[in-house]
């Protein structure tokens, strides 16, 4: 099955162009802000006649959590359709919605494209432009030890909350502080953990990037 995901705002033309240009879309997931839900619903109705199954999801496009909500939404779709081809149309909605959709493509290695405005381009030009998303896993950038430490930290945080005493944490997994420190430094440098050094004891939390990577590899 060919699954397409697209953000929708005021304009819906990009979805119609994609349907015409990329034949064989079986299921379409649209996400939109509350303000433009009607546009998405109208599109859903009009596409029902063409046999395209459309799902509409409302996601606030301007909150602090928007990016993460869109990422989680798309990653869940990709996981649900693991055996299918997933394409992400990043054209519609705000730059933030497009950015979140493109970010999801980078995290999961999905195909992404944008649709050029036919009023602004030469008619002979291809309206759909595929984006250069490599299928390279961010998790694979870590050494085996760094992977183990990151997974251990995630398990610890899921069970007990942020790590508040690095020495005690290292001891709990049978490591010494000097042994774990370089790995923590490397993970911090790669923006996968955040180390808060303002209090007497450092606090370790996972970053949104790490949560997203781990969510996808689970």
């Amino acid at each position: 099955m060919n699954i397409h995901i697209a953000p929708v705002g005021q304009e819906i033309g990009h979805v119609r162009v994609a349907l015409n240009e990329l034949r064989g879309i079986d299921k379409l997931y649209l996400f939109t802000g509350d303000k433009f839900k009607q546009n998405a619903d109208d599109l859903k109705k009009s596409l029902a006649d063409f046999g395209v199954d459309v799902v509409v999801q409302v996601i606030d496009p301007f909150s602090q959590d928007s990016i993460q909500n869109i990422l989680d939404y798309i990653i869940d779709i990709v996981k649900k359709h693991a055996a299918d081809e997933v394409y992400i149309n990043i054209t519609g909605g705000t730059n933030l919605m497009g950015a979140a959709a493109l970010s999801a493509a980078y995290f999961v290695g999905a195909k992404a494209y944008y649709v050029l405005d036919s009023r602004k381009i030469d008619k002979s030009k291809n309206k759909v432009v595929m984006l250069p998303i490599p299928k390279i896993s961010f998790f694979d950038a870590l050494t085996e030890t760094q992977k183990k430490v990151l997974l251990d930290i995630a398990t610890h945080i899921a069970k007990k909350g942020p790590i508040q005493n690095i020495q005690a944490y290292a001891k709990s997994i049978g490591w010494s502080h000097p042994r774990i420190k370089p790995h923590l430094d490397a993970l911090e440098q790669m923006q996968l953990i955040e180390v808060d050094r303002t209090a007497r004891e450092c606090t370790i939390k996972l970053t949104k990037s790490a949560e997203t990577i781990l969510n996808f590899i689970k």
């Binding site: 301007f62 390279i136 996968l192 949560e211």
Partner: protein
Amino acid sequence: MKVLVSTYSNGSTVDRIFREQNFEKLILLTSSDFSKQAKEYKKCKKSEVIIIDPFDHMTTTLKIIRKLKSMNNEYFINITEGTNIMAAACLTCAYYLGIGAMYVAKDQIISIPIPGTGYSKQISSSAKQTLSKIDKELQAMDSITQSQLAGTTQSQKYTVPLAILEKACLIERFVQGRDKYIKMTVAGKIFLEMER
């Protein structure tokens, strides 16, 4: 030096980020439609303006990567202004290089989760060398076979690197007649630019 790279159409978000996050330098990316305003804007800040085609993702991406790689600074990218394609090009650079990106929504600055790993570490050095060799050979032709790539050396030594590059979508292979040809993808070209 802490440098803000920002898409620019009216400058409404640039000032705020520049001021609040203590940037020392500004690089504005804008289309020719807004170049005059961007250059005016430039006068009041230590900055430079790069004119890009707001509807050409590939050229814009390569232009930004070349620029950022030419200087050794700490970069952050603001993708709020300009077209979705400009934002997408900036974000592409951010993911390839592992640079932080942000978006200004109403009264808040939203960070986009980008791992600082970049893509370079995940590809072995032999695969990188092979990609570089493919690029060199493809200056004269559109596609190449594995034996043409190997030349007078053993072609089997390219089997593993080519498999890695294909799996990562940095090259494509297709059959024509009795031969299997190799072609570089756009992702491959950007990857190579990043490695140069």
